[in-house]
Amino acid sequence: MRFTQPLWLALPLLAAALALAAKTLRRRRGGAVRFAGTALLAEMVQAAPRHRATKVLGALAVIAVAFAFSEPTLPVVESTKRANVILVVDVSGSMTADDVAPTRLTAAKAAGVEFIENLPEGWKVGIVSFSDTPAVIVAPTDDTAVAAANLQTLAARGGTATGDALNLAIDTGRAGGPERLSEALEKGDDLADPSRSVVVLLSDGKQTAGENTTDAAALRAQRLGVPIFTIAFGTDAGEIEVMYPDGTLRAISVAPDLDTSRRIAELSGGAFFTAVSGEQLAEVYRSVRAVLEKERQERDISNPFAYAAALSAAAAVLWWAKRGATP
C-alpha cells in the first residue's frame, strides 16, 4: 500500500497528543465540585465497560479519517493482462519540414525511440504509422529493440488520414498482441475481453485524407475507454516544398493544427501537448510516461476508510450520549 498524502497519517498521533495535553491541563485547572457521595455514585454508575467502548470507537474513527485523507493506493492486480500504449506517428509529407531540426520526422523518431526504450513496467508498445492510409508497423510487444528499430524505418510522404489511423490504433491496442490483431480488426467494437490501451498520437496537421473523422474516432475511443494523448508537433513557421502539376515548386505552410489535437484529447479523455523542438518533444514523452506509470499503479482505496470513519464516529457519539457518566 502506498499513500499519496502520507502526512495525514500523523493525525492519530497528533490527536492522541492533544487528548493527553487536554487531560493533564484539565486536571491542573481543577474546576471540579467536591461531592461527598462521589465514591458511592461511581459505584452506582459503573460505566467502565461502555466508556472503554466509546474510547475505542473514537480512536478507530480518528485512525480511519487519517487513512482516508492520506489517499492510500493499492497496485492494480492484473498480472496476466498487461496494458498497451500505441504510438501513432504521422508520416505525411508535412513531416519533412525542417522547422524542427533536422526534420520533424527525424526528431519525432529520436524522441519516440527514447520513449520506447524507457517504457514503464507493465506496458507493451505498438506502432501505427499513417499518411494516406494507416498501417500497423509493430503490433503491441514487449520487445523494445524491435519496436525502436521499426520506428527508425519510417519515411514521410503523402496526406494525413488521422481519423483512420486512430481507429486502427484503437483496435490494435485492444487486441493486445499480434495473435488477436486480425480478430480485433474484424470485430472492432465487439471484441471480447479487450486489453487496456492508451494511444499517443503525434501529428502535425489537419486531416486531409481518410474516411473517418477525428471527432468520430475520438468519441469511439471515449466509449471504449481508450484515452488518446495528442502531441501537436511543429512550429507555425514550418514549410515544405511541393511540386505542383504545372511543374512549379512552391512552399506551403504546414503549421500544426492545435485545435483538432486538443479536441481529440478532450473527447477521448486523454491529454493535449504541444512541442516545437526535439527537446520539448522528449519532455512531452516523459510526461506521457509519467502518466502511464501512475495509471498502472494507482487504485485509490480511500473510500472504504472514509465510510469506516463516518460509521465509527457516529457509533461513538451515540454510545457516549447513551450512558450517564465517565469515571
Binding site: 467536591r34 461527598a36 462521589t38 455514585l41 461511581a42 469515571p327
Partner: protein, 281 residues
C-alpha cells in the same frame, strides 16, 4: 468554624431518646423520682446529728479521735459522649458546611444535657481521646476543640464510638458517608449503653440537582468522576439509593435499640432536633 448558640428553650424541652425507657446506665430495679445517693466515696467529714450510722468511717474516726462519716457523690445520671465526624466529607455542603451544622447539633445536645446538670464529653474522628466540656459558658469551646476537617482526611468515627460505648451513652453526629464500620460501631454502642445517631444531610446529597455535565471530586479519596446530572434516570437512581441507605441505617440501629435523627444543612438545627427528640418528662 463558629458555633451558633442553640435555642435554650427548645433544648430544655427535649431528652435523649431511649434513656428513660430502658434506664441504661442506671442500675436498679425501679424508677425513682430522684437519683440515689450513690456509692462513689468523696471524702470523710465530721459527723453531724442525723447522719446515717451505717455511714460511719471507722478508720478516719479512729485516726482523728472524732466521729467521721463517709460522704458519697451521687452518680451523674448518664455518661454521655458526643462523637463528631470531622472527616473530609463533612467539609462539603451547599447551604452550610456539614461540619458547622454538626457542631450546632452538638451544642444543642450539650445545652440539653446541661439543663439536666450533666457534663457531656466530646470526641472527634480525626483527633484521639474525648474531652469533657465545661459545665457552663459559651459554646465557642466546641469550635476551638473541634479540629478543622482537612481534604483527604478519611478518618472514621468507629474507634471513637467504640471507646465512648464503654463509657456510657453515645451521641454520634456524622453524615451519610461515614462508612459501614462506623455504622456497625454505632449499632454496637446502641446495644451496650444506648446511642443516638444524628445524620447531617445536605440537600444535594438527598436529591441530586440537575447541573448538566459535572466533574465531581470525592473529598476523601480524591477520585474524580464526570457525571451527566442531566440524565433523569441517573438522578432518580441516586435519590432512591440514598433514601434506601438512610432507611436501612435507621432500621438497623432501631433493631439494636438505638435511634436516629436527621438534620439538613439548610434548616435550623434547634427546631429540627427539637421536633425529632422525645419530650422531657
Amino acid at each position: 468554624m463558629a458555633v451558633t448558640p442553640p435555642r435554650a428553650d427548645l433544648a430544655r424541652r427535649c431528652d435523649l431518646p431511649g434513656v428513660n425507657i430502658h434506664r441504661r446506665g442506671r442500675p436498679g430495679m425501679r424508677t425513682g423520682r430522684h437519683a440515689g445517693e450513690g456509692t462513689e466515696i468523696l471524702a470523710a467529714r465530721p459527723y453531724v446529728t442525723g447522719d446515717d450510722a451505717k455511714r460511719v468511717d471507722w478508720n478516719a474516726s479512729a485516726r482523728t479521735g472524732e466521729l467521721h462519716v463517709k460522704s458519697t457523690i451521687g452518680e451523674t445520671s448518664l455518661n454521655v459522649t458526643i462523637v463528631v465526624d470531622t472527616s473530609a466529607s463533612m467539609r462539603t455542603g451547599s447551604a452550610r458546611r456539614k461540619i458547622d451544622t454538626a457542631l450546632d447539633a452538638a451544642a444543642f445536645i450539650t445545652e440539653m444535657l446541661r439543663s439536666y446538670g450533666e457534663r457531656p464529653r466530646v470526641a472527634f474522628s480525626s483527633a484521639a481521646g474525648a474531652v469533657a466540656l465545661p459545665a457552663r459558658g459559651p459554646f465557642a469551646a466546641l469550635a476551638t476543640l473541634a479540629p478543622e476537617p482537612v481534604w483527604g482526611d478519611t478518618s472514621s468515627i468507629a474507634a471513637a464510638v467504640h471507646d465512648a460505648a464503654a463509657y456510657g451513652y453515645v451521641v454520634a453526629i456524622s453524615d451519610l458517608f461515614c462508612g459501614d464500620e462506623a455504622a456497625a460501631a454505632i449499632s454496637a454502642a446502641a446495644a451496650r449503653g444506648g446511642a443516638l445517631l444524628i445524620e447531617i444531610v445536605d440537600p444535594t446529597e438527598v436529591e441530586l440537582p440537575d447541573a448538566g455535565a459535572v466533574r465531581l471530586v470525592d473529598p476523601e479519596s480524591g477520585a474524580v468522576l464526570t457525571v451527566n446530572t442531566g440524565d433523569r434516570r441517573l438522578r432518580t437512581r441516586w435519590n432512591e439509593l440514598i433514601a434506601q441507605q438512610i432507611a436501612g441505617r435507621a432500621a438497623e440501629l432501631k433493631a439494636c435499640g438505638g435511634h436516629t435523627a436527621t438534620v439538613r444543612t439548610d434548616e435550623e438545627v434547634s427546631a429540627a432536633l427539637a421536633s425529632q427528640l422525645p419530650r422531657r418528662r
